[in-house]
Every structure is written in C-alpha cells, then in structure tokens.
C-alpha cells in the first residue's frame, strides 16, 4: 500500500513564526502536492513538484514556499505564519503514469496560528 505520512497531525504556532510541514511518501512517486482545506472552499492547491528540486506554484502560493531535496520528501514552509493560514494542510503524491493517476493523500496537519 502507498503510504503518505505527514510529520504532525496537530500544530499550534504563533504569528510570525517560521513553520515547516513535512511530507514523506514511500512509493517512489514523481509528483507531490500540498493543498489546504477550508470549510466551504474544498481543497486548494498551494504548490506541487514533479521532480526533485522542481516546483510549480498552484492556485494559492502566496505566503508559502516549498522544498524538495529528495524524491520521497516534500516540505511546505510558512516563512512568517499569520492567522489566516490557520487551516488543514494535506499532502498528496502520484506516479508519472499519466494524468489519470490517482493522488494518494496523507492524513493531514491541522495548523492553528495564534
């Protein structure tokens, strides 16, 4: 089974802190994604990566950056956390078999910024 793990299920940070969210997948997938999920808004793509050291902005990249130094690991960075970044963050991965590939999701990290 594909497994996507995220470093924390719950995280509480203060405004202005630098926050790292880590995601690891064990299926040698090329593509990795970071989404945020908010009630009534569904999932919105923040960033994705299609290879090591490669990244592309998604629909809402402002206030976030990412890092992918190894194929299995994709990190989301909040340079200076703000209260409007309180949300559920979901990581996903998929193979490179084609655009119809399923995305596999981690359990999510619920981040609260005070």
């Amino acid at each position: 089974d594909v497994k996507v793990t995220q470093s924390s299920r719950y995280l509480v940070k203060r405004t202005g802190e630098k926050v790292f969210l880590e995601c690891v997948q064990d299926m040698d997938h090329e593509n990795m994604f970071w989404y945020r999920q908010d009630p009534g808004l569904g999932l919105r793509l923040i960033y994705f990566s299609y290879d090591v050291k490669m990244k592309e902005k998604g629909d809402i990249p402002e206030g976030y950056s990412v890092s992918r130094e190894k194929k299995e690991r994709f990190s989301l960075i909040l340079e200076s956390a703000s209260t409007n970044q309180t949300s559920m963050y979901l990581c996903a991965s998929s193979g490179f078999g084609g655009q119809g590939d399923e995305q596999f999701f981690g359990p999510g990290t619920r981040l609260t910024v005070l």
Partner: protein, 113 residues
C-alpha cells in the same frame, strides 16, 4: 474557464435510502474524473474514477458514478446508504494537458438512523 461545481454542500439522508451527490464541470478539453471520500479526521481516499471506456464506474462499497459528456456531469449514486457512509465527498477533475487536479468544494453526506 475550467471549473468543478458540487451543487449541494450538505446532503442528509436516512439509512437505507438512495442518495445522489451531484458534480458538474466546465471544460473545453477532455477530462479525467474522480470522486474522493474523506471520513472524519482522515485524509482523502479515492472512491472511483473515470478515465475512458464505459461511462458507468463502480466502487467496491456500492457507489457508482456515470460520466455524461453532453451534460458535463459525473454524479455519484448509491441505492442504499449505511451509517458508515457518513463522510465528505469531493469531486475532482483533471483537465487534459494539465496534471493538476481541480476539486469541487465538497458535499457532506450525513446518514441518519
């Protein structure tokens, strides 16, 4: 513009009743279609997908969805729901030429005894 619309944000039903969760998309290119389910406090899991071939696709737990190209819809149905089907359901579309998934806003299905 390419978009995905789930017409109902919440659907309450009684156990053993039939249910339909609606999904429409707007696109000028061909698409791949997905339904994901999110149980409370969990990540998303793939329920079923349409890539090509038969327009009716089924999941292992009794859900089915039909791709209707003329109506640009991919509605999810189950003839008899269980309490354990209570979850949020997301329709997602991959617009060919773009390997991102675009998600609808989700439909919360609540099955009551």
């Amino acid at each position: 513009a390419q978009s995905v619309t789930q017409l109902d944000s919440q659907v309450p039903v009684f156990e053993e009743a039939p249910v339909e969760l609606r999904c429409n998309y707007s696109s000028s290119v061909s698409v791949y279609l997905f339904w994901y389910v999110q149980y409370p406090n969990q990540g998303l899991q793939l329920l079923l997908k349409y890539l090509s071939g038969s327009t009716l696709v089924e999941s292992i737990n009794g859900f089915e969805a039909e791709f209707n190209k003329s109506q640009t819809s991919f509605h999810l149905r189950k003839p008899s729901v269980h309490i354990s089907d209570t979850a949020e359901y997301f329709c997602a579309v991959n617009f060919r030429g773009n390997y991102k998934l675009t998600f609808g806003k989700g439909t919360l299905l609540t099955v009551n005894p």
